[in-house]
Subunit: 320 residues, 2 copies
């Protein structure tokens, strides 16, 4: 009987579930809206519905060996609790216990809960750009900036689950105000919203750009990345600056963690070498030469379903 | 028959060896000058002499179970090689093999080689300020700034032995020139020599201080720390600033590693709360609140013989 892992990516807008083989192949998937505004229990109810739907799809020929959940927030992986998920509007939600209560007899096996970046780094380790490496720093650059660490082949959580929480490392002491209340966090300088804000500011100041026709209030980082790829000077300048600021943070990480690989994912990573080259150059001039020599900085290898595949990797890596 | 570890602290000026019990008690010690200017082999010869002298002192009633060496430089602990030790003037010295050659039949047991900060963090873990903790960042602030990491109870080396190499994390992009060729490294801002330099600069600019009588060229960080402890405003300002800059680096480390304890040793740590309070305050306002809550920042617990006790801890921790 073939074995499958059931992976769920719990984000602020959608719940994405999949059945994933040990080789990382998705054999079935399901989607539901998160709708955090309805409260915690309805969200967990929809997660339970997704699980039952996938169990039905697995059918009699397959055995689901475990459920892995990557959640958009900080987690206590030992107790299966989401400590704080701002997009989910969750604080101290005992996700594993509530989900087991919703599922009743339908599931009595193991459930692993991790922050989504920890699921992502395991997914990259097993099936993506981390294959063959043992010590990996994964960084996502999207709406926020976060990270996950695999050290010597194992997920490293830190003492309170806060390892590789890179978004609020301060890059510029007098930089722009961050959502967290501090100034100059890398998330306030190099995330998708920060890139879009910088473009709006420069356009408002009259800088010429192919983005100048666009209504400023609809401008996103995706637009800036596309303009940069079409050669727009302003957009390239903004992406380069984001890469340099991200590179400053990664240079520190290189000297603290001495990883073998740094994997960058998230929407902004779609900028490709326009982002990666300034990242690599900044790391190369700022970190210790021997540590720079030891690390490769590469794009994430998993694309579609990376959240669910990472969540399933929690099961295959025995993180339950 | 009582078991002992033989620990050797190999520094740029002296070789310090000791026999240490499993409980961390020093039962015999020996000293020799390093004299790196004489070349590699004479230094290793003096290390071998120290080992034979300690073997003789152990006598028949004790068994030496292993030799641990903490070296002032980066090391390949697997091969027992000192990769680069600037104060030793060593590059790629196969210390374990050469030492075994010098010792011949006198020693055929295990020899562990580690950078001195890795020996120090193990010493603190087993016998000092790290007791009871499992995830510890050790930082030394003296002539240089360096670190060692214990993660989940085990020494963490990084992929090329460069983990926790904190001295060259860049704190101020346009800061003073560092010995490494970069600008604004924490070592150029908060190490002993940096503290002494800042005092000389301020005194030369006419700032009043009880240090003003001293010949500027003999002024050291020890003098600045003593003046600060006596209430001198200039000296306090310089130590506070060093603490804040060190705190910036440690805040980043807190969000990357999420340690349970940060232990600060080295000569500058003798400043006590004059240094530790600005460190703690800076970490508290710059790192993630949940990560700040999880960590205690404390002075090193081992004083005299800490180098040899740390080196012996390499044996007791099974790092061979």
């Amino acid at each position: 009987m073939a074995e499958l892992a059931l992976g769920i990516d719990l984000g602020g807008t959608k719940i994405a579930g999949a059945l994933v083989t040990r080789e990382g192949t998705v054999v079935a998937e399901v989607r539901a809206p998160t709708r955090p505004e309805e409260g915690v229990e309805p969200v967990i109810g929809r997660m339970a519905d997704c699980i039952r739907a996938l169990q039905a799809q697995a059918g009699a020929g397959h055995r689901i060996v475990g459920i892995g959940i990557g959640a958009a927030g900080s987690t206590d992986h030992v107790r299966g609790v989401v400590i704080m998920g701002s997009n989910l509007r969750w604080v101290n939600v005992p996700l594993r216990d509530r989900l087991l209560a919703h599922l009743g007899d339908a599931w009595t096996g193991p459930i692993s809960v991790a922050k989504d970046t920890n699921a992502a780094v395991l997914g990259e380790l097993l099936y993506g750009a981390g294959r063959g490496a043992h010590t990996i720093l994964y960084v996502t650059v999207g709406t926020g900036i976060g990270g996950g660490l695999v050290l010597e082949g194992r997920l490293y959580h830190g003492v309170s689950g806060g390892a590789a929480d890179l978004g609020h490392l301060i890059v510029e002491t007098d930089g722009p105000l961050c959502g967290c209340g501090k100034r100059g966090c890398v998330e306030a300088l190099a995330s998708g919203p920060a890139i879009a804000r910088q473009a709006r500011e420069q356009l408002a100041a009259g800088r010429p750009s192919i983005l100048a026709d666009r209504p400023a209030d609809t401008l996103t980082a995706v637009d800036v990345v596309e303009a940069a790829q079409r050669g727009d000077a302003l957009a390239r300048e903004i992406i380069t600056l984001a890469g340099q600021r991200l590179g400053m943070v990664l240079a520190w990480c290189v000297d603290v963690v001495n990883p073998e690989r740094i994997i960058i994912g998230g929407g902004v990573a779609a900028a490709g070498d326009l982002l990666f080259e300034p990242v690599r150059q900044t790391v190369a001039v700022r970190a210790l030469p021997s540590n720079v020599e030891a690390v490769r900085i590469v794009p994430a290898g998993l694309g579609a379903n990376s959240g669910e595949i990472g969540a399933a990797a929690l099961v295959w890596a025995g993180a339950a």
